[in-house]
């Protein structure tokens, strides 16, 4: 009874298409059908943030959307952050500040931080803590993640860096 839907969308600037049931979660579609396994699945109910992606330029939980809802959408996943061999400033800062241990939350943390910095390019430490509170990390105690986001913010303010948004932040 459950019909198969064809979905065409853009991920990290590249056109993709796939076929799935309406009940397929967007995160599963990204991982299983598009083969982009950088986006992780943690809790599957919108709490942990590991599956955070940019959906039409805004961070969203891909476990709380169905793939059919991404028809024609533009997504950015962690695979789209680096330019060739060159890390995005957030990735570079996470690397330099040792802002990950197991790495499970990192794709969500990077994308959530990217969106947060688009809305608040010069955050205080408290604002960074609030900004990254949408993603749970069970290894680091957050200290180095906070440092990394602050460092990346400084770099990104100095340079014109891809934020995943085509329009200026509100």
């Amino acid at each position: 009874m459950s019909e198969i839907r064809e979905i065409k969308l853009t991920v990290n600037g590249k056109a993709y298409e796939g076929r799935c049931e309406p009940r397929k979660l967007l995160v599963d579609f990204i991982r299983e059908d598009l083969g982009l396994t950088g986006t992780h699945i943690g809790c599957e109910h919108g709490i942990c943030g590991a599956c955070t992606i940019l959906f039409n330029g805004e961070a969203a939980r891909s476990c709380l959307m169905f793939a059919v809802q991404a028809q024609g959408a533009e997504l950015l996943t962690v695979e789209g952050l680096a330019k060739g061999d060159e890390y995005h400033p957030l990735q570079q800062a996470f690397h330099e500040h040792h802002a990950l241990q197991c790495g499970y939350c990192t794709p969500g943390m990077l994308i959530a931080a990217l969106d947060f910095l688009a809305t608040n390019p010069a955050p205080t430490e408290d604002e960074i803590r609030e900004g990254i509170s949408s993603v749970l990390c069970r290894c680091t105690g957050y200290v180095n993640i906070v440092k990394a986001v602050a460092a990346a913010a400084e770099v990104m303010r100095g340079a014109s860096v891809q934020t995943g948004r085509s329009d200026p932040p509100p």
Binding site: M1, S2, E3, R5, E21, P22, R23, L25, D28, E44, H45, G46, G49, T52, F55, E58, A59, A60, R61, C63, L64, M65, F66, V68, Q69, A112, D115, F116, T119, R129, E130, G131, S133, S134, P170
Partner: protein, 287 residues
């Protein structure tokens, strides 16, 4: 877990959505932002036969003001409201309340109408709707009707909306320019459901309090107005004694339950504490 099978519909209009809903005789669910419904489906607490997705319907996302009434399309994202200057200018209490809802990535999807229709007891938007005495516009097969907030919330997750009605608009009277306001909320972690929250709007005339509106979240089956506390402030002003008395009345009026996040007694205590803090914060000079 993964959602159970369902039939997916992406109607182009509210009328079409109502026709599809009617075909399923109560076994279809309306999908707005999905930040509550989809987790319930992932857990299989909700296993609707069909999903009627409102996201493709054009014209349900807007913020307009006519004659001191702010009208907000039901599918307007919480995130858009958060960054909308008109909300900051005319409904600063809503602006304040929005910051407490989940996180930026959930506010990107979550909608104002979806939050109201879901009627979670701990949700901030129903609390703000109570404090600002707003109303919703609902569309059904017989046409449109307006439901004042006082007639809307019946019980936890239960509203007076008919099975074949969809909220299309949320209306708030613009706050008077001299109104002061605050939201105080306690949750165990940033972005968690409120264990208790109180919203306050106060209009002053010299030492007198000409209007006080207080509403709750998290401390009963639905958000309620704290009418006894309002009466104290309107009769006795905003003295320290009156605030203490209002907080006691607030704690006495609520009907909280015990769960993993706190006992009923603790929530009652928090209601009093948050009421006095919110009033004090509202009337304190703003930087």
């Amino acid at each position: 877990m993964k959602p159970a099978k369902f039939e997916y519909h992406a109607p182009a209009s509210i009328e079409e959505a109502l026709v599809i809903l009617g075909r399923y005789d109560g076994e279809a669910r309306v999908l707005a932002g999905g930040q509550s419904l989809v987790p319930m489906m992932n857990f299989r607490l909700a296993t609707p036969k069909a999903i009627v997705d409102l996201n493709p319907i054009a014209g349900l996302s807007y913020i307009e003001e006519d004659d001191e009434v702010v009208r907000i399309g039901s599918m307007t994202r919480q995130r858009r409201l958060e960054f909308e200057p008109l909300v900051g200018a005319k409904l600063p209490l809503l602006h304040e309340g929005l910051r407490w809802i989940g996180h930026l990535p959930t506010r990107s999807r979550g909608t104002i109408g979806g939050s109201i229709a879901h009627a979670d007891p701990s949700a901030e938007i129903p609390m703000v709707l109570q404090a600002l005495e707003g109303e919703v516009v609902a569309r059904g097969p017989q046409g449109e009707r307006r439901i004042p907030v006082g007639d809307l919330f019946h019980a936890a997750l239960t509203t007076s909306l008919a099975p074949l009605e969809i909220i299309t608009e949320v209306r708030f009277p613009a706050m008077p320019a001299q109104a002061v306001y605050a939201v105080e909320e306690f949750a165990r972690r940033n972005g968690d459901f409120a264990v208790a929250a109180v919203a306050v709007v106060v209009v002053r005339d010299g030492d007198r309090c000409t209007k006080a509106r207080l509403a709750t979240a998290g401390v009963g089956p639905t958000s309620i107005r704290l009418r006894d506390a309002e009466a104290v402030l309107e009769q006795k002003g905003l003295t320290e004694d009156a605030i203490t008395e209002a907080a006691d009345k607030a704690a006495a009026q609520v009907d909280p339950v015990s769960d993993l996040n706190g006992s009923a007694e603790y929530r009652r205590h928090l209601t009093g504490v948050l009421t006095s803090r919110a009033i004090a914060k509202a009337i304190a000079p703003r930087a």
